[in-house]
Subunit: 371 residues, 2 copies
Amino acid sequence: MSPWKAAKPSDSIREIDTPALILDLDAFERNLAKMQQSLSGSQVRLRPHAKSHKCPEIAARQIAMGAVGICCQKVSEAACFVDHGIQDILITNQVVGSTKLHHLMALARRARIGVLVDHLEQVMALSAAATTYGTKLDVYVEVDVGAGRCGVAPGEATALLAQAIHMAPCLNFAGLQCYHGAAQHLRTPEMRIAAIRHAADVAQQSRSAIEAIGINVPVITGAGTGSFTHERDSGVFTEIQAGSYIFMDRDYADNQRGHGDPVFDHALFVLTAVMSINQHGKVVVDAGLKASSVDSGMPGVWQRPGCHYIKASDEHGVITLPPGKTLPLGEQLWLIPGHCDPTVNLYDEMICVRQGMVEAVWQIAARGAVL
Amino acid sequence: MSPWKAAKPSDSIREIDTPALILDLDAFERNLAKMQQSLSGSQVRLRPHAKSHKCPEIAARQIAMGAVGICCQKVSEAACFVDHGIQDILITNQVVGSTKLHHLMALARRARIGVLVDHLEQVMALSAAATTYGTKLDVYVEVDVGAGRCGVAPGEATALLAQAIHMAPCLNFAGLQCYHGAAQHLRTPEMRIAAIRHAADVAQQSRSAIEAIGINVPVITGAGTGSFTHERDSGVFTEIQAGSYIFMDRDYADNQRGHGDPVFDHALFVLTAVMSINQHGKVVVDAGLKASSVDSGMPGVWQRPGCHYIKASDEHGVITLPPGKTLPLGEQLWLIPGHCDPTVNLYDEMICVRQGMVEAVWQIAARGAVL
């Protein structure tokens, strides 16, 4: 990591070294509040996904605002949050292999931990490990609700797994994971509504199959920032796992908003500076692939009409300018990451700003926690 | 970062937690030797690019094999290497802004540091800072040799900048940076030969313009893994900056090899494990976007004919299987990153293996050094 930090509290924004990951605290706090407002009055609880931020300061604020806990994607990521005092974590993933099970069981002794399964072999391995380690674990059956990635087929297959979990002495059948990842970036509200209607139908069908063998289904969890209003209104889902709403990356903002969808603000930016100005109609900035993940396309350029970030190499970004426009060397630009989650994962800290000043520097403690 | 490491020395490969960044030491050492052999007998020196590996252990081995120093892309990256004892670094980038100049000058007091300029304003700022800090700096003029990114136009514009550097009391005009990034992944040898012939021509033309005003051009530096044999044979270039040859990512291996080009071996892998096997004809592995950068396409699957990594999300990868083939849960697969540089930048350490065993764990000390 860099031997020095991009900024310290009470620096002005102009003094921030670039590229740096910036959190606009006013926008972030508005997003936190809007999500809680969106769920208030419903019976649906919020368990935001911490893979987006990997930051204990943010998880603590989400829980203080009403979240019941957090989601993580990896055992090591969850361990970072437990180390920072978070006590209720759902790992929204299958955990396979003896090394991982060892760490998972150690974690389950320190906090309430949930994990997913989509295969009987996973249930047997979890059961054996939990027994060996003398610990108790919440286990959710992941249902393939349309994304065609992980998960079992809806209906009877879920009942078989629920029964196996239910019979295992150290496992607690906690419910169904019904996340539809592929629905999040469907561009029109009609497409997202149809996808989530299907997800809710097969979640309901799976719940019925499990209840038919006398097992209660306490939780049906899923949803992301792109679709959560539909899961909220489904009458089937009980928990929402959205994560990106706190930041709003460019790719989510490209979705057409549906009626009644809350408007989340861009709160996460990559601050960059112009370092080369020799090419006609374009400049080169100091934020490239290692400063903003381009897996979901190039970053947007914030409040610079006609400026487009068109190409990233390791540590260079090329921005085209509107006709006749130039920018000086050293000019700061604010980029909106195409995809916030892997962008956050590039940084050790985020610089939190308000009204032109650095207010705090938050550690991205679970950055790189990929195990 | 993860609270535990993926492996420790003397573990067997089977025990490595996944996903993990793996260096095959035999292949890596062959690549080191092949590059030095490729340059032996020529007057061209090797200054490998450390942005690829960010690892002091590797830089030390490159220098022990004959490299004259290393390249870095960022001031903070260079600072990490100076902290680990590297004493001769060319920062192949423009350095703009007072904060960065402060760190650059502090570094130039501790090691031989070179930096690029492509604008008179940068020369003036470097000159003022070097004078203030009482330090001496090597400054190279970057020439746009065809990539259309940074650099001045060849010829007279380079002479103007060289003269300004030459006149500045604390700056040493060290030569020309003539790197043609866009040529590295031109797929046919003929296209790469033509691109580097053009680069060498304009480098020569710039050298002549500078010599015509009585200034010596000690170094002409550039080249990458895709094209370096052509710069080597140009009679113009004196230094080679290739970096990826030690690892060989999938995107470089996709180039058609030219006559006499050395064959570098894949030495860097992402070890991953199968975690979900419910979908017909495909499996889901535990290495996604946060384990292997996809900016240059999906990773390859090593020595598994007919298996294709087709889709990455944050922590999931989907691999299609050949007809009739299945894989069990927990099966380890070796992925060849599409682009090694940003993939290395995701990890805190690389697990070095030989003959089925972990031999060492090397710190990626400059991981995240983006300032």
